[in-house]
Symmetry: C2
Subunit: 538 residues, 2 copies
Amino acid sequence: MAVCKPWSACLLPAPKGRVCTNYARCVNQILQSSNNMQMWLRVPLRKHEDGDSMDDQSLGGDPIDSWETWNSFRLLCEHNSQLSVALDVLGSLPSTNSLGRWFGEPVRAAIIHTNAFLTNARGHPCLSKRHQKLLTSFFNHSVQAIISGELAHSVLVGPLESATSNAVNHDNSDLGHPLRSYLYYVGYLYQKMDPLPQQELYELSYRDFLQSPLQPLMDNLEAQTYETFEKDTVKYLQYQRAISKALLDRIPDEKSSSVTTVLMVVGAGRGPLVRASLEAAKETGRKLKVYAVEKNPNAVITLHSLVKLEGWENIVTIVASDMRQWDAPEKADILVSELLGSFGDNELSPECLDGAQRFLKSDGISIPSSYTSFFQPITSTKLYNDVKAHRDLAHFETPYVVKLHKIARLAPCQPVFTFVHPDHSPTKDNQRYTKLKFEIPDDTGSALVHGFAGYFDATLYKDVHLGIEPTMPTPNMFSWFPIFFSLRTPVCVRPGTPLEVHMWRCSSSTKVWYEWCVASPSESPVHNSKGRSYWVGL
Amino acid sequence: MAVCKPWSACLLPAPKGRVCTNYARCVNQILQSSNNMQMWLRVPLRKHEDGDSMDDQSLGGDPIDSWETWNSFRLLCEHNSQLSVALDVLGSLPSTNSLGRWFGEPVRAAIIHTNAFLTNARGHPCLSKRHQKLLTSFFNHSVQAIISGELAHSVLVGPLESATSNAVNHDNSDLGHPLRSYLYYVGYLYQKMDPLPQQELYELSYRDFLQSPLQPLMDNLEAQTYETFEKDTVKYLQYQRAISKALLDRIPDEKSSSVTTVLMVVGAGRGPLVRASLEAAKETGRKLKVYAVEKNPNAVITLHSLVKLEGWENIVTIVASDMRQWDAPEKADILVSELLGSFGDNELSPECLDGAQRFLKSDGISIPSSYTSFFQPITSTKLYNDVKAHRDLAHFETPYVVKLHKIARLAPCQPVFTFVHPDHSPTKDNQRYTKLKFEIPDDTGSALVHGFAGYFDATLYKDVHLGIEPTMPTPNMFSWFPIFFSLRTPVCVRPGTPLEVHMWRCSSSTKVWYEWCVASPSESPVHNSKGRSYWVGL
C-alpha cells in the first residue's frame, strides 16, 4: 500500500454480503498502524423496503440495508476516526427516514452513477426531485459528488456549454471528459442552492464543536461572553414583549400614571434586560422602578456606567449581590431573569429563582414563568469520536454545548423536566426523574444512538415563548446551541424496538447534576453517578 | 445507612418488575461512594418456562426470568464488584440450563424457603433431588445457605437431634430455633458431599485466578516451573504409551535387535520426555538412540547431570540448541515434543515443529501428531471484573491461563484451529481463520457472555490423546488450566439468537498473536488488532 498524504484517501470496495468480518479486520489492522491514512468504505445507498422482495432476490444475497453493513464494519473497527464512507447513489432511493441516518455518519463522497440520472425534455441528464434534495443535503454536509459509470445519455454537451459550442459528435478528444454533461448538471444543482443565512454563516465554525457548558454561578462570566450574548436582539425583543404584556395585564390604563411597578432583574449582567424592561415601560406607558441585581463585580461596574450614560439613575437601583442572599428592601411585582442554559434548568435557574422568590409578591410574576427541557436520540459519529478521543470516562459523562450539524435525528423530541415560577408548592424540590420511550420510525431501519440532543423551550409570559426546541425554535436567535449527552457505548436500536431512556436531575447542598441511562433495548451503565464527572456548582 | 465492616453485607430487597432502573441508580450511587460496602441483591430463583402461562399470571407482572432482572441491575451498576446476589430458592426450580447461568454470577447466599422443602416418610423436612443437587453445587461455589420462612413441618426435632431429645412440643424456648430441623437437613446435605479429589484440593487456590500465559520461546523457564510440570506423571505416561505404540508400528519384532530408532526430543527441558522415551524402549524391547535438544542453558546443565546419574551416556546425546536452528547430524524416525499451551498452538508449537521437521525423515513420526484448540462461551462476572480492574485495554485483549470455577458454560465447545505434524503441505502456513456459531440452548434463557474459555486436545499418536477439552479431558492431569479470552464489552445473547465469533491466528517475522471478535448478535471491536496487547515472541 502506498504512503498516502493526510488529505488523500484510499477508496475501499464495497463489502460483499452483510457480514464482512474478515474484511473489516484487515482494514482495522491498517488503520491501527497508520496515523493519517484515510479510508473510505464504498457502500451502496440501498435499503430493502416492504414490498421489494422481488428486487431483493435479484440482488442475490446482497445486504437488506447497506447502513447495517457500514455499521458492522465500523463497530468491528472501533469507530476509527480515519474510516469514512463513500456512498454509491443508485437510481432508486430508500425512504427519507432511512436516508437521514447517513447524516450522522462520516460520509465523504457521494458516487452518483450515470444510470441514476433521468433524461430531461432536451435529452440532458437530470436527477429526480428526491435525488436533487439528497444531493443538496450532501452538499450542506461537505460531501463531495463523484460521477461514475458509462455515458448513458445521448447529449454530450452540457446545458451550460451548449450556447458556446456547436460541435456535437461522439469524439471526446477535444470536448473534455465524456461525463461532463453529468458534472455540469451536478454543478448546476450546487449553484442553485440557497446561500446560507447570515446566522448560519456566523455559526459555521461552531458546527459539531464540543463546548463545555458555562458555570455562571461558580464562575463570573467574561466581558466577551456578555458582549456576545447582548447582541442577540431577538431574545431581548421577546423579553420586551413579555414584560410589556405583563405590565399591561398588571396595571390597567387608568392606573398607569399612579402606580409604579417594582421590577427586579435578577442576574442583570451588563444591563440588556434592564434596557428591555425600560423599553417595555416606555412602550406601554407604565411607570417602573427597577432593581438590577448582579453578583459579578465586573459586570456591576459596567452596569453603573450604563445607568449613568443613559440617565437611568432615578429609575434603576443597582444591587451588587447574589440574588439567593440579597435582603430586598421591598417586594417585586415582576421578576425578570435570563438564567436558562441550553437544557433549560442546567445553569441552575430553578435554584436561583427559588432564592429570589422570597422578594416576589405573592401574586407577582416571574419572567420566564416556566421552562421545559427536551431530549432527542441522535446518531453522531463525529461527536462520539471527539468525546472518545479524550480516552476517559469523565468526557463521556459530560454534556457538551454544541452546534449540531453532522447528526441524524432519530425520533421526535420529548419533554424531560419542567419548572414553573413562582413555585408555590409547600415542599420545593428541584430534583426530577423521568422515563422516556422513543419510537424510531420503522422505515428508518436499524440505527445507532450515540447520545441525546438536549434543547429547551421557555414560556416568558403567556404566549411569548423563547427556545431552541427544533419544531418551534425562536427564529434568528443565537444565544443557545443544543446540548449533547453522550452514551459511553453507542446503542443499536432495531426496528420495532423502543428506546427507553431514564433521566435524573439530582442535587446536594453544593451542586446539581444529571444522571442518565438507557434501559432498552439493552441496559447502559447509569452515567455520571453522584455527579462524579459533571456537575454544576451552587 | 450504618457503616458496614468489609466482611458484612447489606441485603437488598428483590426488585419489583423486570426493569428496576431507579432502584439500580440509587444502589449505584451508594456503591460509588463506598469502597467496601457489600450489597447483596435478593432475587427469586425463577424463570418462566413454556407452558407456565398460568403460573406467570399468578405472579402478577413478576419478571419472566429473574436472571434478567439481575442482569439489568448489574449492567446499570457497571458490573460493580461490591454488588452480589442472594437467591431465593423456591419450591419449583427452573430448567437446569437456566440454573447454570448463576454459577457465573457472584451468588453469595441461597435463601431456602421452608415451603420449598418436602416432607419425608418420618415427617421431617427434606428437599427434592433437583434441589439437593443445586444445593451441593452452591456449596461447591462457596454460596452460603440461609433458611427462611415459617415453620411448615410438624416435626420439630431434626433427624440428628431426635436420638437425644424426647421432648416434642411447640414451645421453642428450650429447644433452640424453630427452624433447626431445616438447618439440620441442610447441614446433612453438606456433610454427605463427596470430599474434593486430591488434585482439586491442590488447585483450590488457583480457582478463577488470572495467570499470564508462558512465553517459553522468548523466556527461559525457571527450575520451579520445570519441577511442577515434571510431577504430572499422567502426562508422561501418555507420552510413553504413544512412543511405545510408534516404536511397535515402526520396528517389527524381528528387527527389534538389529534396528536402532533415532528419536529426538525437541524441547527436552530437564529430561522427563527422555525418560519416557527410554521407558517405552525398555517396555517394547526396541533399540533407541536419543537426541535431547534444549535451548535453555540452565535446563541443559540439569539434563547432563541426569544422564550421568542414570548412566544414559551411550544412548542419549544432549544438544544445547534451539530446534529451529540446530544442524542435525542425522535424521530422526520419531520427533517427540511437549510444546503445547492451554490453547494448543499458543506457545508456538507449530512454528517450532516446522523448524524441527527439517531433521525428521520423510516417513518420520511426530508425537504429538496433531492438536486442536477449542472455544466455549462463558459467563464469568469474577474474571470479567478482575480483568476490568486493570482499567486498560491491554488486559482485555490478553488471554489468561485460569483454573475456571465460578463460570457458566453456555454452549458445547467447538474446535477452532488444528495443526498436523509433520506438515507436508507445499506452502506451510500457520496463520488461521475460523468462524464459530454457538447456539445457546433455548431453555437457558438470555445469557451474558463475558468471554471464551479455550482448551486443547492433542493426538499424541493414533488413539493416544492428551488434552483438557471438558468432554474428553485426560484424567488427573494438572499441567494445563484452560485459557480465557475476554470480551471488552460483555455480549447479551437472547434465546434463539446465535452467537457468532471470529478468530484469527496471525503471525509476523517476530511474533504470533490472536485476534477475535463477536459478529452476532452485535458486533464487538476486533480484539488485539495487530497483536497490540498480547503476542507470543518467536
